[in-house]
Amino acid sequence: MPMNRDEFLLEMDEILDLPAGTLRGNEKLEELQNWDSTSLITFIALAESNNGVSISPGQIVTCATVADLLRLAQAESSAS
């Protein structure tokens, strides 16, 4: 998963089937219509296959916004 914020947001747009440029980062996950188990699994799978970082669902539960997901991916990436 790209660590550049803009690229990350564009990728999340695709995962959530939103027009490119929709997400700004401050959106609450619980308010995003397509944030479901499929998109969650996709997020984990892409983080792993693109960046080699392992994110557990438990860690995602602590995320409230799209920006939190980015921080999680960045933190895991820099830690790995």
Binding site: E11, E14, I15, L16, D17, N34, S37, T38, I41, T42, I44, A45, L46, S49, N50, S54, S56, P57, G58
Partner: protein, 620 residues
């Protein structure tokens, strides 16, 4: 930027990027749904683990095959209970296909350490009994075709290599169970194995099962593994609906051999075991030969002088011989023109063709000019050609039936028929010279696979283009309220195999012909007259006084627009779906229309309704 369904189709072709598919699946689905002429199907996924991801990916790959599924999804690990206790939601869903997505996690109990062989055997019988109960209930009560996973291997091996060799070992146990599943598949129709043992090895055991997904979501297969699984199941469903390809069109230079035959000469071609690249060409030829032997039609499309091109097959190491090809185009015309000519010559649709060429410019040109033709991105390295064809699963079949083995021989002898035709000035004289014999009768168990295959792939001589699953075909064959007819046609050049199918439903003294089709192999041979003659005999025997035929126009069946008029039916009116109804009063005395086809004794035997009904029932 706008994405077209054709762009999406490219992105699900091998080699593809799994991450792209995962990320863009919603957009891809939306675009693929814009395709026209999608074939609907109803699939029940009965899961031994979470199946959300399986459903999502399967939908995507089915849409890419032109099939639009509606799904039923069992609750988590409710695959057995749903069937055993007849979940009304499942029963009301009336699936055409039941996909049982079980994995090694669903083996109820592995053998104990040092368990005696006889007890392990008992354990296998119990496990088989549990599954056979489900399969038989699904077949008997839902009438659906079953796609059943075999078992992948457990990720951990507490006994190390002994897991494989000891009868109580878990690897050994899984492999024995898989052999039992395979045996059941060999002996039962409408039952197909989804070979996840192979898929897990192909993806890599460590990638196939990831404990993260198991413990977090109870997914028995990782998202990456699920992509492989869904592609495989979609290919199987594609074959059930007769959407597999029929013909492989091949370039020659640097595709079937190394070098350019026109420049290098046959003696300098790179082909054979004495050269590393030559060995790769040899192995690709062997792979192609294997496809040809199981019924894939081969054709050549090469920019070459004809005689030069043919000479290549005289190379001592060439596994492929000239007679393996049913059409041969070697000239300097554009390849799309030649491929069109091949389709016409073989009487097949362009959408039945796969084109393989090492030259990317030729591939692009054909793909652009003939979007119906499948043009895999085989690259320029012969060592990957077969793998790409394999990965695309173009030629997936439900079963190999005798007619498949005869198909190439048929297309080759068709050339002889054409030569023969040119010797006669009168077409009737030509037909008489063919010495044709037909076997026509009610659906017989031995032909049900082929009948289903024809029903689901015939587009041109097909009055209604109605598709039926194998389960529906079996049910119709057993139902006395239907008249069913199959027709086989042979001539002095060979056996054309089973080429025509008719299904009529009887209401009092009227039969409604719901389906009437014929393979284009035998157009203009009066086989439709032979079928009609037997239909009349059946009607007379059953006291049926009227035949109502339906014609539903499609993009491909224009050739039968006047079929009923030609048989002296009268137009009755239009149907609400844009079809036409045609009526025919069955006369008390009838003169057969067939002039050049002799019906065999088998036909008379087969048309005895009582004998046939018993034989179908015994199969079921």
């Amino acid at each position: 930027m706008t994405t077209l369904p054709s762009d999406v189709l490219k992105s699900v072709r091998f080699p593809f990027v799994v991450a792209d598919i995962l990320r863009k699946r919603q957009m891809m689905k939306r675009e693929l749904l814009k395709q026209t002429n999608l074939v609907p199907t109803r699939i029940a996924i009965l899961g031994g683990s979470t199946t959300t991801e399986v459903k999502s990916m399967l939908e995507l790959f089915l849409l890419a095959q032109g099939i639009q599924p509606t799904f039923y999804e069992s609750g988590y690990n409710r695959y057995s209970e749903d069937v055993q206790f007849e979940n009304p939601d499942l029963w009301n869903f009336k699936p055409s296909i039941v996909f049982i997505h079980t994995t090694w996690h669903n083996i109820s109990a592995f053998p104990e350490l040092l368990e005696a062989d006889v007890d392990v055997e008992q354990r296998i019988r119990r496990e088989m009994g549990r599954f056979e109960f489900l399969w038989e209930k699904i077949h008997a009560e839902l009438g659906a075709l079953i796609i059943q996973n075999n078992f992948d291997l457990p990720g951990l091996r507490p006994l190390g290599n002994l897991e494989a060799s000891e009868s109580f070992g878990r690897v050994n146990f899984v492999l024995r169970l898989n052999a039992e599943f395979a045996s059941y598949a060999r002996n039962h129709s409408r039952f197909l194995i989804n070979d996840i043992l192979y898929l897990s090895a192909q993806v890599g055991q460590a990638e196939w099962f990831r404990s993260t997904y198991w413990y977090s979501f109870h997914m028995a297969v990782s998202p990456i593994g699920t992509v492989a699984l869904a592609r495989n199941v979609a290919a199987m469903v594609k074959s059930v609906y007769g959407k597999s390809k029929k013909c492989l069109v091949l370039d020659l230079d640097n595709t079937l051999w190394g070098g350019v035959i026109g420049d290098d000469g046959v003696q300098n071609l790179i082909l054979g075991r004495d050269h590393p690249v030559g060995e790769a060409f040899l192995d690709f030829q062997r792979y192609v030969k294997g496809l040809q032997r199981r019924g894939v039609i081969l054709a050549v499309c090469s920019k070459n002088d004809l005689e030069n091109a043919k000479e290549g097959f005289s190379h001592p190491d060439s596994v492929l011989k000239l007679e393996d090809f049913s059409a041969f185009k070697a000239n300097w015309d554009p390849k799309p023109d030649n491929i069109r000519a091949i389709a016409t010559e073989l009487n097949i649709g362009l959408d039945s063709i796969v084109f393989v060429d090492d030259n990317p410019a030729e591939r692009d040109f054909v793909a652009e000019q003939l979007p119906e033709v499948a043009v895999p991105n085989v690259g320029a390295d012969v060592s990957s050609f077969a793998e790409v064809l394999e990965q695309e699963r173009y030629f997936e079949v439900e079963k190999v039936v005798q007619d498949d083995l005869n198909r190439s021989a048929y297309y080759s002898s068709n050339a002889e028929r054409s030569v023969g035709q040119s010797r006669f000035s009168d077409y009737g004289e030509f037909l008489a010279s063919l010495e044709m014999t037909a076997e026509i009768g009610p659906f017989a168990p031995v032909y049900l696979e082929r009948i289903t295959q024809l029903i689901n792939k015939t587009n041109q001589f097909n009055l209604t283009t109605r598709r039926y699953t194998s389960g529906e075909v079996v049910a119709i064959a057993q139902d006395p309220s239907f008249i069913t007819l199959y027709g086989r046609l042979a001539d002095k050049f060979g056996d054309n195999g089973l080429v025509s199918v008719l299904i009529g439903q009887v209401f009092d003294e009227t039969v409604h012909v719901n389906l009437w089709l014929m393979s284009c192999r035998v157009l203009k041979r009066e086989m439709e007259y032979a079928m009609f003659d037997v239909l009349i005999e059946q009607c007379q025997a059953r006291g049926i006084r009227k035949i109502v035929g339906t014609y539903i126009p499609s993009k491909k069946n224009g050739m039968v627009a006047s079929h009923y008029a030609g048989l002296d039916f009268r137009f009755m009116g239009a149907t609400s779906e844009g079809g036409e109804l045609w009526g025919y009063d069955v006369p008390a005395t009838y003169s057969p229309r067939t002039r050049y086809i002799r019906k065999t004794a088998d036909t008379l035997l087969a048309t005895s309704p009582s004998a046939d009904n018993e034989s179908v029932a015994s199969e079921a």
